[in-house]
Amino acid sequence: MRWDFASVLAHGDALLVGAAGTLRIFALSLVLGLGLGLVVGLGRHARRRWLYLPATAFVEFFRNTPVLVQIIWFYFALPMLLPFAISPLAAATLGIALNSAAFSAEIYRGGIQSIDRGQWDGASALGMSWAQAMRRIILPQAIKRMLPALTNRAIEIFKMSTLASAIAYVELLHQGKLIASLYFNPIETYTTVAVLFFVILWPLVQMSYRLERRLKRNE
């Protein structure tokens, strides 16, 4: 068996370009997904039906549809309704971000609901508005509890970035496919890609374990 890692390493720059693409999608989807998720999560927590029902519909739809299907829909189907094309980056980001928003909305809602009712009372009694109570009292306490689950979400988002390769967005796996098809060394190439992902995600995964343990201890 001849192992040919040399050609993989020779194209380290191509892999680097891919990694940059991965990070770009990750950052965009993380910010948009977790940001939108907070808004939807607050909607899920609301008592008014006109806020609660759309938020629930959003969460149910985007949690129960596969991300790849959404990405493909945004890339191939949506442009039929618009006068312009949608780039692979936009389509992939939309798909991943909306999915992440739906999952993180539930995390936010759970976190907010886990805060003892007495804290709302205490804030209310001082004359705080809903927004002030949320900002100063409820969210700061809730964030700590939501951190492990949100970190897991971030890890999932990072892994989902590979789906963008299906619509030819230049990220790490896409570059791997390119190299493997040029040099006929799928073992070395895909192993390298897997190792790269592992090396990047491992610290995050460890951190999420530690956060979970710390949370369990403080409960």
Binding site: G118, G122, A125, R136
Partner: protein, 254 residues
């Protein structure tokens, strides 16, 4: 001078009428103790006075101004106006409800800073002043998790005082405390009373009520059954139910 006047207050939870027609006028400097059995509506009544619960019927006037507007026979309240009321009527809870992610001083500072918009330095000075008033200067930078129950409640009182309320509502302030910690909180409340703070106190501490209150109200089934001076209600109650209640709370005679 009447600070607060409530007329025809009513509040239902589902089918149950917890408050069933209460009229109450609170004058400046009055110390009113509200007593009654569990389920008599004491806490709900108190919570209506600062709109932590919104009354279904009746009106509440603060300094002569009625809160809310009449809309087609019903009273409608805007959240903004209610937060204004709560800045003027302070509340101390049975479960303290201190903010665990802030130190004692930060808890006391929170009202002036976030609600009133004072700057950090001024708020801290005020907070230290209030903490000194309740005897906890040395605990200013301690987190609630490291304070005893009595200390936490005193911080909660300081937090309410920092808003310069026209009147203080105490919702069973010592019911959640271990017996040996009750005294330090009652002493703080007594000191406030002696300074002339207007207050309503829902409590089971009948002895304390006797010595500190200017008026005692006995609540039963959401209505005021009897009210009067401490002597009139606690020593010589007229109604049979009031008598039964007092008897059942008499632990010792000295």
């Amino acid at each position: 001078m009447t600070i607060l006047r409530a007329v025809g207050l009513g509040k239902r939870f589902g089918d149950l009428a917890v408050i069933n027609g209460v009229d109450l006028a609170v004058a400046k400097g009055e110390r009113i103790a509200i007593i009654g059995a569990s389920g008599s509506g004491k806490s709900t009544l108190l919570r209506c006075l600062n709109f932590m619960e919104v009354p279904d019927t009746g009106t509440i006037e603060l300094d002569g101004r009625a809160i809310g507007v009449d809309k087609g026979g019903r009273r409608v309240y805007r959240e903004f106006e209610l937060t204004q009321v709560r800045q003027r009527v302070g509340m101390v809870f049975q479960q303290f409800n201190l903010f665990p992610h802030m130190t004692a001083a930060e808890n006391v500072m929170e009202g002036p800073r976030t609600v009133r918009g004072h700057d950090k330095q001024a708020a801290r000075e005020r907070a230290l002043g209030e903490l000194a008033r309740v005897g906890l200067t040395d605990k200013a930078d301690t987190y609630p998790a490291h304070l005893s129950g009595g200390q936490r409640q005193r911080v909660a009182i300081a937090r309410a005082l920092a808003m310069d309320p026209e009147m203080l509502l105490f919702d069973e302030p010592t019911s959640a405390l271990d017996p040996e910690l009750v005294g330090e909180v009652l002493n703080v409340i007594r000191a406030l009373a002696e300074e002339g703070t207007t207050m309503l106190l829902v409590t089971h501490e009948l002895g304390f009520a006797y010595h500190v209150a200017t008026r005692v109200i006995f609540l039963a089934e959401g209505r005021i059954l009897e009210q009067g001076t401490p002597d009139q209600i606690l020593k010589f109650p007229k109604e049979a139910r009031t008598r039964a209640f007092i008897e059942s709370h008499r632990q010792f005679t000295f």
